[in-house]
Symmetry: C2
Subunit: 270 residues, 2 copies
């Protein structure tokens, strides 16, 4: 099936999900749309997030995508259910895959979740976890400084360590947490620093990795996997500034710059 996987995000954070999709599904073609002009979605109302998400989906549906990945926690929390009902293609968000992976991984049932203030306030992760398994102890913690330091490129070193250590105090103090969900698409870039802060006995779940894994599952079960052999040409669109988007993309795709050669980045008018 030659149609592409569509990926939407409020901006650049979802590029970590796109990166994982490329790694785990190297034959699949992606069309990514980042709404950088109206980012962040976190502080916006539910109605606004639904409207913006709908506009992005319309842009991608015109490009005949075979599946939609909502690579933004806020958009997943507000729009996933509606989109699953409205669209005739499979739709997946970033929250449920992380929740399912945490349920698989935890041994003692004590799970931590870190995310933006909006994601934590929405209780989307505790709800997704307890919908499947009531008897879990879930501790959610907002880490509002993480996304900003990632966007400034501070991923390791003393400054990153100080911010991460200070922010994660309540998670470390909990002691029994054995599984920590990174509930924001920016956080995988801080994974090394976060692991150091919480210790090796805590398993870290990256929602992006898990979302890519489940995209693979769903494509397979629906008979939608690309069956040939190719190096696909991806297309990346941004509603905002092309140069900033390109620069951040290069930072996120850091260790696999070769992918960027097969990427087109264009400005989207939606």
């Amino acid at each position: 099936m030659d149609r592409a996987i569509g990926v939407i995000d409020s901006g650049v954070g979802g590029l970590t999900v796109a990166h994982e999709l490329m790694r785990q599904l190297p034959k699949e073609r992606l069309i990514y749309l980042g709404d950088t002009a109206r980012c962040p979605y976190g502080p916006r109302s539910e109605a606004e997030v639904k409207q913006f998400t709908g506009e992005m989906v319309a842009f991608l549906m015109e490009k005949q995508i075979k599946m939609l990945v909502i690579a933004c926690n806020t958009a997943t929390a507000f729009a996933l259910e509606d989109l699953q009902k409205q669209l005739d293609i499979p739709v997946i968000g970033v929250i449920q895959p992380g929740a399912r992976a945490a349920i698989k991984t935890t041994v003692n049932g004590h799970i931590g979740v870190i995310g933006t203030e909006g994601t934590v306030r929405s209780e989307a992760y505790p709800n997704a976890l307890k919908r499947i398994k009531e008897e879990l102890d879930v501790t959610a913690l907002a880490c509002p400084l993480f996304a900003p330091i990632v966007e400034r490129g501070i991923l390791t070193g003393p400054e990153a360590e100080k911010v991460v250590n200070d922010s994660l105090g309540p998670i470390k103090a909990h002691q029994r947490i054995d599984t920590l969900i990174l509930g924001c698409t920016h956080y995988p870039l801080l994974k090394g620093t976060i692991q150091k802060a919480v210790g090796d006995h805590v398993a870290i779940i990256s929602s992006g990795e898990e979302t890519a894994r489940e995209t693979s599952t769903i494509l397979d079960v629906h008979g939608l996997l690309y069956k040939g052999d190719r190096t696909p040409r991806h297309a990346f669109y941004t509603t905002g500034d092309l140069e900033i988007f390109t620069n951040i993309s290069r930072k996120i795709f850091n260790s696999s710059v070769e992918h960027l050669e097969s990427v087109t980045i264009e400005h989207a008018v939606i």
Copy 2:
């Protein structure tokens, strides 16, 4: 949705998958059918395995299952594709979930797979892996002594260690393998001993855990998750001896015997 998840296996090995389904999806009800009377399927012809599998599926479809899990590597290799086409409910096998988890986990692309001689000869795992990602190095190794020692209850200690160490020689000698798939439903019971043999730098993937995880994904995407709150009553059927099946069940559900109180074990005539 109050209908049960159907699980079929050639015998008792699939009980490890059932155990994981209970752990990861504690609200879901299971109907398990083990074809102990005609076990093992490994040495049988493709036609025979397809026929037996079809008979088991007919038994479960009468019980109005909402999804089918093929918890047997041989049956998955031979019958999954046909059943996905024939049945109007979602069908999942044990091979693809393990393959997808390994692709997610490996860092250097060197993956090991261990299984019965039949599973290794079928090349089902290398095929499932390379269908998604060509550029993997896959080493498959048959460990014919593992299932027998598990069935004799020898899971740790000097005898188990000797068998496991001797059998895994070629995996250890490979040196670059960073991810090892347990491609037989009996092997999770030897996980500790296997981890000790290959070293902590190798991530071990249990197909059963991953199959349960993907069952959760598929139920969610199809809107089939049970939405209420309950402790479900499971039903286990065997085509063979009831007492032997019950004894092995107790061994597999070892650490969570409480589950057995909510289990009915009956003889199945198919």
